[in-house]
Symmetry: C4
Subunit: 222 residues, 4 copies
Amino acid sequence: MAEDSSSEVTAREQRNAGPGRLLAFTDGVFAIIITILVLELRVPDLGSGQSLREALGDIRPTFVAFVISFLLVGMYWTWHRSAFAQVRYIDRNAVWLNLLFLLPVAVIPFAASVLGEYPTESTALHIYGVVLIVATLFRVVLDWYLRRHPGLLWQAPSREARRLGTVLAAAPAVVYGVAVAIADWAPTLSLLLYFSMPLLYFGFVALLKTDPRTQVAAEDLS
Amino acid sequence: MAEDSSSEVTAREQRNAGPGRLLAFTDGVFAIIITILVLELRVPDLGSGQSLREALGDIRPTFVAFVISFLLVGMYWTWHRSAFAQVRYIDRNAVWLNLLFLLPVAVIPFAASVLGEYPTESTALHIYGVVLIVATLFRVVLDWYLRRHPGLLWQAPSREARRLGTVLAAAPAVVYGVAVAIADWAPTLSLLLYFSMPLLYFGFVALLKTDPRTQVAAEDLS
Amino acid sequence: MAEDSSSEVTAREQRNAGPGRLLAFTDGVFAIIITILVLELRVPDLGSGQSLREALGDIRPTFVAFVISFLLVGMYWTWHRSAFAQVRYIDRNAVWLNLLFLLPVAVIPFAASVLGEYPTESTALHIYGVVLIVATLFRVVLDWYLRRHPGLLWQAPSREARRLGTVLAAAPAVVYGVAVAIADWAPTLSLLLYFSMPLLYFGFVALLKTDPRTQVAAEDLS
Amino acid sequence: MAEDSSSEVTAREQRNAGPGRLLAFTDGVFAIIITILVLELRVPDLGSGQSLREALGDIRPTFVAFVISFLLVGMYWTWHRSAFAQVRYIDRNAVWLNLLFLLPVAVIPFAASVLGEYPTESTALHIYGVVLIVATLFRVVLDWYLRRHPGLLWQAPSREARRLGTVLAAAPAVVYGVAVAIADWAPTLSLLLYFSMPLLYFGFVALLKTDPRTQVAAEDLS
């Protein structure tokens, strides 16, 4: 807030309005996505002679898909929070790239419900993976755009931080790609790969923190 | 924040409370509308001998309607963000005009789900168009009201900017009107017109940016 | 922000945290309530030989109930915004009175959907009215609590403003009470009374504005 | 805001970004959870010869489960608001502990709908209790984490306040545990225990306020 003259800042902030509303809107979208996931959990109708306990057992895959999706959406949100902690101004491109990023994230509850109902169907596994890959892709594009426009940031990132950031943002897509590729002949393994993603993520962040060169990036990622 | 005496500003801001809560409320409404669109995507029940892939093919129109509606709602939100970046105070008329603007926008998920289920029915095409036209109309009225009360704005807009703003805000209604008019005898063309709306919008904004006289308006529109 | 010593203010604001989160939470609840009203509008299944236009005609009462409920929830929100524009601090009683006020407001979408499906059933009319009366009642209590604790407000209201405020906040309950009372033998009239409520409200506010003594209260009400 | 040098604060706040977005996101999640509870209330289909009044009588347990769950979610939110009024900075652990706390809270609407449909089934009573116990557990962990890292707080809590805080945060789990334990052989008593929880809570807070040593903790709890 020091470099520009005060009046210039005011004029610029009036036109660009800062990231305030984009963040409020995005937090709202994330809050809704993460919460409507639970709407997939429906009170089961009891079949004849079936106990409630048995009926609830039938929706166990849906419950697991809910928990995994909750954590994955949480990962996207924590990334968004870290990334935009660096952002001072936004322009129309950033607004629309952010909306395009939210589009596949909003589809996660649908993909999760398909997976919850058909957990070993390769089609369900493909959809879940493709949605996550598209979300990751738009996340990388948004990240890349922001890092390429240091005028929008509080502090220009170093070249190294920029490269590492892109690699880290893109990394999950590789795991999802493998899960999609093996879904046809090893659906259970594919499913396990999605389910282990939050664990892989936490392990990966912990690993990065052990090396001083990647420690800061690890903080950003979380 | 300079012209008025400090105590006057405080009194006025206490009574009018600034646009803060209106924006928080509006962002919440937009976040919910854009997210519940996805609730229309439902896990299909498999018919006998039908594969999941085939069943998902059946909901493709619903998916397309979801993506288009997501982008259209996004357009309304980005417009709202730009328009209210100029707003310093609001009065009760602005509050209610804003609520009336949100009313048709809140109906978009319903109109989208009708269109997704009956994509070539002229009635579905009419409803979708009418909802968008009403939303555009209230948007124009809200825009017009704010520009007519420079005391509510940070900076009074020039006469030219005001006229251009109204034209730009009203322009989409013409496209929707054509789509409604032709729905009876050319439903596919009508559908394509809705689907091309986001592209038309981005092309139009890009066009405006090439001319220095309309460049600022293009920024406001996005 | 002038009377207290700076450190005292900080300590007090830390403990009480100001109304910030209460407002964010309340705006979120209102945004969701006003938006999920539209979920009652469902794509009709076509009966045999029935056109989409006819099927949509069947859900017209639901649509009318949606519009009325949207405006009524909007009235509660605009009241909340005006009332809390005066609030500087909140305590635990205010937090819980606010939650109790939100409870019946959250039931409005349910009451609206019952009314939309059974628009001339006296039971549906009773439920709709009782929910609105309870919401109005808690609104009066919350209003009364805040006005009774001037330490929570930016400015202590005059005795006259306090009395007028209570009367105005309670007034709609009378209309709802009449609508409930006549529901058994004149359901259509009862329905019309609910539907005319937003018009009555706007007319009433306009009336208050003509008299200088009630002008400020009219501003607060809107 | 006084101890650190100004530039250090800026750098730290950029990286940690303060609790702002976490609170916005959390308020959004709570607002949605508390509001979608009402979606469990569905307009009943009338059986042959059944009046609307009778049909609504059938969903009375669902309504009671809605009110109780609304108050319980409100209790978690008021706790969150009090706890984070002390928080100045957050780190990635706090972000993830907060997400893990929100996970079981998001399941409350599902547990409430199972309980509403099968109010005297021990399985439904078990699920409701386990969800509340897990939510309370994560709340205790989050609380414990924040109190253990005074660098994240505005003011380091006294050792006594810390211990009392943990006990108070954990206390509801005991009640829920009893309700779960007796669900098999005394389902009605178990149900009553859940239903009396809000009353127990308010009584407990009132009790704490009578003793000067626990008065401040009572304020925090509410």
